[in-house]
């Protein structure tokens, strides 16, 4: 005999979105550097910024309030608006 169970999941049906293609070159690009507020992430990003600016690229710095929570939507919006690519310092 067949039985019926109720689905305990969120029953998500997410739509698939195409990723933006990786740029073949950073020439002329504006780079966002996102510090997620993990220890010493700033040290790493300071060095990345130095190297990118050496190459004449525009760099914008961003900071998440805390690494334990998802980035506020306004911050994500700002990054998307201002930058062509983003580099995130994830770990200690």
């Amino acid at each position: 005999m067949s039985r019926t169970l109720l689905d305990p999941t969120g029953e998500l049906a997410p739509t698939t979105r195409e990723r933006i293609a990786r740029p073949s070159s950073l020439e002329g690009a504006t780079v966002g550097l996102l510090d997620i507020s993990k220890a010493r992430g700033d040290v790493f990003l300071d060095r990345v910024q130095y190297r990118l600016e050496e190459r004449g690229l525009g760099v914008h710095r961003f900071v998440k309030p805390t690494f334990t929570k998802v980035a506020p939507i306004d911050l994500r919006h700002e990054i998307a608006k201002q930058c062509d690519v983003v580099i995130e310092a994830l770990a200690d």
Binding site: R3, L5, L6, G10, E11, S37, P65, T68
Partner: protein, 477 residues
């Protein structure tokens, strides 16, 4: 439902009073001037010799909201105009307008319970009615599928077998709350899914909860999904932590939670399944799974379930929820982000000064002896340890003050390189003194039963707005 005009009697064979009045019913049935219809609840052949209507499915009986059989009704134009229950010659005679009814029978006899009063039948009927209203997707299992294996295969399990969430079980679970099954309880991370009371109930069934536990599970889900508690971060962290649920107030005793011997351990259904249900909601509704968003390096066994009640009756102190601003008559859950518990053994201290020094020495090691301020802890004090403080007249504030004094850590002890250990704070802190725990970062509860000069520390996680705040929520039925 329209009943036939005239007299209607509802009876069952399993009732001595119904059996007693069979001669009366037979007499009325034989009278061409009386229109009598008999409905029978348990045996379609009862009463013998009368062509009774089968109401073994109780459709008519439930519609009439019967308490007792026999019940005699007078129906006019399809509507009930009078009712009498049990056997009373006087009343039946008045009801039927016939004298000399039931010669030889006692003048009156109380009736029996209608089958509609059987608690199991009522629950099954409620469940069947409720099941049809549930909105979740139906998952049909094949004839040859094993229920338990099918649930493992669908990824619903935390690793232990689950109770199959049939619509009837879920509907029964929902009788534990007055809340609408469609009400949104919380937005559950990491998938940020709006979670209904119904979805929580399904996961509570999976976990093995009884319906009366559901309000506690609902409050725990609400607390976990606040921005302050930050279940997303608690789940995603590489550290070995998970939600610890402490239950306070009258509900704990009402649903049989354990706050005494082995309360932090196995063996109590409410403790075990409430904590498990919370974790299953995070897993199934929120989509938070080990190896996915759960990035724990090692994890801890409390991530299966970690839930207990505070022993308020035996405590020398006000309950945890009262210390956090709730009324003693409120029932509440407090969620704390914690590691696995570790014991404090002190069988020799007989003064509060000695015991508090022991506690402080052990608390100093939470996370790491050189980590200060940033990590909270919960101190779970046993009855025999609490007695030492109670006999000396120390209230909770006194205990916390004394611990705070002993947990001021000089910077030279926690800077990088101190004690030959690289872990620590930058050298600039060498001349400072910092508290081991931030203000309010040490929670104290009273738990345990029987003998034992042992208490417990549950180490925390990143405290405050950057990580997780303990959150207390009132439990609503």
């Amino acid at each position: 439902m329209t009943l036939p005009d005239g007299l209607v009697a509802i009876v069952k064979r399993d009732c001595p009073t119904c059996t007693l009045v069979v001669p009366v019913l037979t007499e009325l049935d034989a009278d061409p001037t009386t229109a009598l219809t008999v409905f029978t609840q348990d045996d379609p052949t009862f009463p013998d010799g009368i062509d009774a209507v089968d109401d073994t499915d109780l459709t008519v009986s439930f519609a009439l909201d019967l308490d007792t059989v026999p019940t005699l009704l007078r129906i006019e134009d399809g509507r009930e105009v009078a009712r009498t229950v049990g056997w009373s010659r006087e009343q039946w005679q008045a009801f039927t307008g016939r004298m000399g009814l039931g010669e030889g029978l006692p003048p009156h006899r109380p009736g029996c319970g209608s089958r509609t009063q059987d608690p199991d039948l009522v629950a099954a009927r409620t469940a069947a009615a409720g099941a049809a209203q549930l909105r979740s997707r139906r998952v049909e299992l094949g004839e040859r599928e094993d229920d338990i294996e099918a649930m493992f295969e669908r990824g619903w399990s935390d690793g232990l077998p689950l109770v199959p969430p049939t619509p009837e079980r879920v509907a029964r679970m929902l009788t534990g709350t007055t809340r609408d099954p469609a009400e949104i309880v919380a937005n559950v991370a990491p998938d940020l899914v709006d979670c209904t009371v119904e979805k929580v109930a399904i996961n509570a069934v999976l976990a093995g909860c009884r319906p009366e536990y559901l309000p506690v599970v609902l409050a725990a889900v609400e607390a976990a999904c606040t921005d302050e508690f930050n279940i997303h971060g608690v789940l995603a962290t590489t550290m070995p932590v998970g939600p610890v649920v402490v239950v306070n107030g009258p509900v704990a005793r009402a649903i049989g939670m354990n706050s005494r011997g082995n309360a932090l351990g196995q063996g109590n259904r409410a403790n075990a399944t409430i904590g498990r249900a919370l974790q299953l909601v995070i897993r199934n509704v929120g989509g938070g799974r080990p190896g996915g968003v759960d990035r724990a390096t090692q994890g801890n066994p409390g991530k299966y379930t970690f839930c207990f009640a505070e022993d308020e009756a035996g405590s020398p102190w006000e309950p945890l929820h009262v210390s956090r601003g709730f009324d003693p008559h409120d029932s509440a859950v407090t969620l704390f982000t914690g590691e696995g518990p570790r014991g404090i053994i002190d069988q020799a201290s007989r003064t509060p000064e000695s015991l508090v020094a022991s506690f402080a020495a052990c608390l100093r090691t939470v996370a790491h002896p050189k980590i200060v301020v940033g990590i909270d802890a919960m101190l779970v004090v046993s009855p025999e340890h609490a007695r030492v403080f109670a006999e000396a007249g120390w209230d909770r504030a006194h205990l916390l003050d004394a611990l705070g004094e002993r947990l001021q850590v000089p910077g030279r002890e926690f800077v990088r390189g101190a004690n030959g250990i690289s872990e620590g704070m930058p050298e600039a802190f060498a001349d400072t003194t910092l508290p081991k725990f931030r203000d309010g970062g040490l929670l104290v509860v009273h738990v345990g039963g029987g003998a034992g000069l042992f208490s417990t520390i549950i180490g925390g996680w990143l405290s405050g707005a950057a990580g997780s705040e303990p959150v207390t929520r009132r439990i609503m039925t």
